[in-house]
Every structure is written in C-alpha cells, then in structure tokens.
Point group: C2
Chain length 338, copies 2
Amino acid sequence: LDTEAMAQIRKRLDSLTKPQGSLGQLEEIATRLGGIQGTAQPQITRKAVLLMAGDHGVVAEGVSAFPQEVTPQMVYNFLQGGAAINALARQAGAQVICTDVGVAFPLEPADLMRHRVANGTRNMAMGPALTRQEALQALLVGAEVAEDAIQAGNRLLATGDMGIGNTTPSSAIVAVLTGAPLAEVVGRGTGINDGALAKKREVLGRALAVNKPDPGDALDVLTKVGGLEIAAIAGAVLQAAAARTAIVIDGFISTAAAMIAARLSPLSVSYMFPSHGSVEPGHRKALAFLGFEPMLNLNMRLGEGTGAALSFYLLEASLHILNEMATFADAGVSEKEG
Amino acid sequence: LDTEAMAQIRKRLDSLTKPQGSLGQLEEIATRLGGIQGTAQPQITRKAVLLMAGDHGVVAEGVSAFPQEVTPQMVYNFLQGGAAINALARQAGAQVICTDVGVAFPLEPADLMRHRVANGTRNMAMGPALTRQEALQALLVGAEVAEDAIQAGNRLLATGDMGIGNTTPSSAIVAVLTGAPLAEVVGRGTGINDGALAKKREVLGRALAVNKPDPGDALDVLTKVGGLEIAAIAGAVLQAAAARTAIVIDGFISTAAAMIAARLSPLSVSYMFPSHGSVEPGHRKALAFLGFEPMLNLNMRLGEGTGAALSFYLLEASLHILNEMATFADAGVSEKEG
C-alpha cells in the first residue's frame, strides 16, 4: 500500500469539520482505498461483481435443501437479470459478471461453459473434491476473470458465489484453517432441517477424516475439500491484489475463499474489504481469521455477492466524505479544545 | 400497520428466486414499509434528514471537547453543504432540513431562529434543563418540521442532531429509562480525555441527584435532563408515526430521543428503523430498549444523521428486491425439497 498517499488522506480527513476519527470505518476505508490505488484522490468509477458458479459432488450425501439443477437454473436467472444480485448490482450501478467454473450440467449456448474446469467436484466425503491440477486451473480462471474486469475499467470488484451445496466445502475450509471444531462452523445453508444439519456435520467429519487436508498447505485444503467456484473466487482476490484493485468479500463462501487467498499470499488481505456478517455460524470465525469486522449486519444468508454489492455504497460514501466536506478553516468552525 | 399489505409482501418475497428469508433484514424492512404505507407496493420517493440543533447549559461543567460556539458554526456549515451529513445526504439523494430549536447564540438571518424555543438549556447539574412548557414546545417544533417534510412529499425521514454537549443529556435519558448504571452509558462523545470523562460521569451523577427524574414519566425525564434538539427529534418521530411515515433513527442522541417518543407512544416504535451502532457505550442499551439491532457497524460517533442517511440505501435495497426479482415460476428455478 502507498503509505504516502495514506498519510495525505489521513491529514485531510483530520482537517474536515467533524471530530477526528468520528466517521470510524468510513475514514479507514477512504485511507485504504488511497493506499491501494496509490493516490490521495482515490476513485471508484466502474464496479463489478464477479459471480463464480460451480457444483459439488458432496450434494449426493443430502447436505442441501435445494436440488443441484438449481445451480444452472440460477446461472440463467443471473444472465436474465432476475436474481437478488442483479437487483442489488443495478441499484449500485455495478455489472454482474457470471462465470461457470464448474457447473455439473450443460449450459446453452456452449460458449457459457468456456471457463468450465470440470462438471462439478467429486464427493469429498469419499475422497478429494478436486485434483491439484483442477484447483490450480480454477484459481487461474478466477484470476483471468478479475483481470478482464480490471482491464475493462472496473476500479472496485466484489466476489459472489453460486453453487448448491457450497456451504459444506466452505465449512470444511474454515474448520481446517482456523482449527475450530466442526460443530461451530456448520450451519443450515439455504435452510436445511435438523436432520439434514446432523447429516451435514457427519458428512463433513467423514470428508476431513478421509482427506486429511494439511492446514499448512492452502492449496491442499482447496483441492481436497474445496470447490471450483471457491477456487475461482480465491484466484480473483489474488489477481485483484496483484493489480492493486480493491475487492469486497461477500459472505461465508466468499470469505472461506478469501482465507485460501490470504494463506497463499498474506499481502492480499490489504486489498480486501469485508461486507456483511452472515447467519452462517462459521462466518464470524472466517472474518476473524482475516482480521475483519463486518460493516453490515442484516441476517442475510444468500451469497451471490449480495452483501458485497450492498457494501459498494459504503466504500463510495467514504470518498464522498473525503472529497466533499469542508475543512475547519474553510467553514470557520472552531477546533477541539485542549 | 397494515397487516393485509404485509401478508401480501411476505407471500411475494417467498415466491422470489432465493431461499425463503435468506435476505434477512431486507425482507423485514420491505414488509414493514408496506405495513407503514398501507400498500403491498411501498415506495420511497423523496427523502429528508431532519437535523435538529440545540445547545446545552451543562457544557459549563466542562463535559465536551469542543467549545459551544461550534453549534452555530456547524449550523452555517449545514446550510452551506459542507458537513458530513450534507455529503452523505447528497449521495443518498436526500434533503437536509436543519432546524434551530435552541442554539445558544444568535443566527443570521434572524429567520433561521424562527423555531427556537430558548437560547439553549439550563445547566442540568444545577436544576432542570428545561421547563415542562419548553419541552412541550420543542416536541411540537419537531412535529411541525416532520409534518412539513411529509407534506412536501417525503416518504422516508431520518433524524439527526447537532448540539455541543448533547451526549450528556442523552446518557442521562438512557440511564434513567433503562435503569442502567451511569458508568455503562457514559462515553467520550466527540473525544474527551480520561479526566473529562470522569468529570462527565460526576456531573451526570449530580444532575440525576439534583433533578430526580421520574422514570415512569418520559416528559419529566425530557424536561429535567433532556435537551431542546432531543425533544424536537422525539416530536418528529411521533409525528412521522402519526402520519404513517417511516423514520430512520440515527445514533446515540437520536436513539435517546426515540426512547422518549416510544414511552410517550409505544406504537410509534413500529414506524422507526434503526441505522448504525455507535461507539458510544450507551447506544447498545438504547437500541435494546427499543428492540432494535443496528444494521450498520462502522464505529461512527458523529451524529448529524450520518448513520441514518447511510441506511436510506438499505431501505431502498429492500424495495429493489421486492420489485425487481424474478419468481421461481417465472425463472423456471426449482424450489426447496422436502
């Protein structure tokens, strides 16, 4: 990060007509945006949500409330603009870029599948979800999608996910990397009942026992108990950081992916912004792993990038503050005493 | 609230392409907006922040980090558009309506003072801050300002405050109405040091001992340890509720005022929406008194309506969801199993 730009921004923020630091996170966001962009006048022009879709072999174990065909159905819904992320991205003035990284069903036209790495993952309760080659390829897909979005002029990105069953690999990643017991990081996802929740915990226990992912090797974790869209999100985060572009991390699945990115490149965390705190119990642990506090608490649990898209407004607010407020001197307002 | 409209909205939200309830608070906001407006198609057209300004005699005790003349200086800053609330209201497409309810200094032109009830409050450490007549008059000023804003076409309001020293009366109100010990509801306001914080606690202790406000009589609390801008905010909230108009409650000072409103008319709480959680330690207790969880956590402590103005976007988001998303049937997406 550009510490000179950040110092200039802090100085300006302290000169504005408000008690110093009283805008809390908004001040920290403006400062970090300047550090990321390498300027005391950071800008957010074009914005995009990078929505990665993939399927999960583990759904064969009965861990999700929705059938797997919902993944491709929702891809079409995204393309037609009818999903929650479409409504919220339109409100934010952001583009939704939906990428099939590993849906388990054919998509039409076939060009929609040009980034597909595999037709979903394998059942991680029986063995590794991915090969190391597939995991790396999906990381690169994410990086390529992010780079294309940056080349197209986007100065602010967000992550989003679609994949029936994908809270299961996310819980596995969070459990392995944080060391938290499974019971604390497994939730109801799209809304499973008590029986399915018990089943999900049992399946996750088996997946960890069978695969023995190495907590010290993020790529091993991603390969054995991850997912294709999760890998692509991690790749997008790494590429955003490499290209000095801010990226907002959505909810539980995206934060699990961001943890992989953080382990592969600890510096990448400086380019990430948290968004909301999800209902999924593992999300708080995932956020804490990254040192983040969520800005929004709306009891959401949808994914798709919805929490991240809502947060774009807050990042923009930080720049309205930086750019539009009067200083104490200009407005003739007395400063703090003593 | 219109329960028929709310039932229709819930039915529609459950038909949209997302797991039921997965948008959490956004779904509850859309539903309540329909209940408030009495329609299954609630709308937010014009929006306004009702910013009430007033001074506090208790600043003579040394409870604030800023000199009292900052109150009128900031009023001019609001009118010139240079304050934080101006930047955030512009971003939100909202108007800022600033009213002098009791600034301690003259304002020019004199017309700016047309709603002024008194030249600030008296020092509550020595006796009642207001007379019952003044408190009632300030409540009515707030109601009138809110009614004018509603008549002008605003369908969504927010509260805001300006008044050097006004965390002190707010802490007193929260302590008296919640029964919490003073130590738990007194904070650093605009940024006082440890010595001034100890002084502030001591002054509040004296104010409560001298005045003995009756926790069962909100008007008595407002009169003895309240403030003119606090009374006006309470009046604005009551009028918004009477006129079936949603009103977003800003931070600590506004929430203390909303507590007075809630005690005077418990039904008014249904028309209030929380916004952010402030750094002020008493704010959580004040929110809990009203049964609210903050939507935004940004470590802010500025007032002026800044947290409420940021929240306008979230209320609008709830309507984008309600109005723009495809249904399961329309999008051909499979519903939840079992």
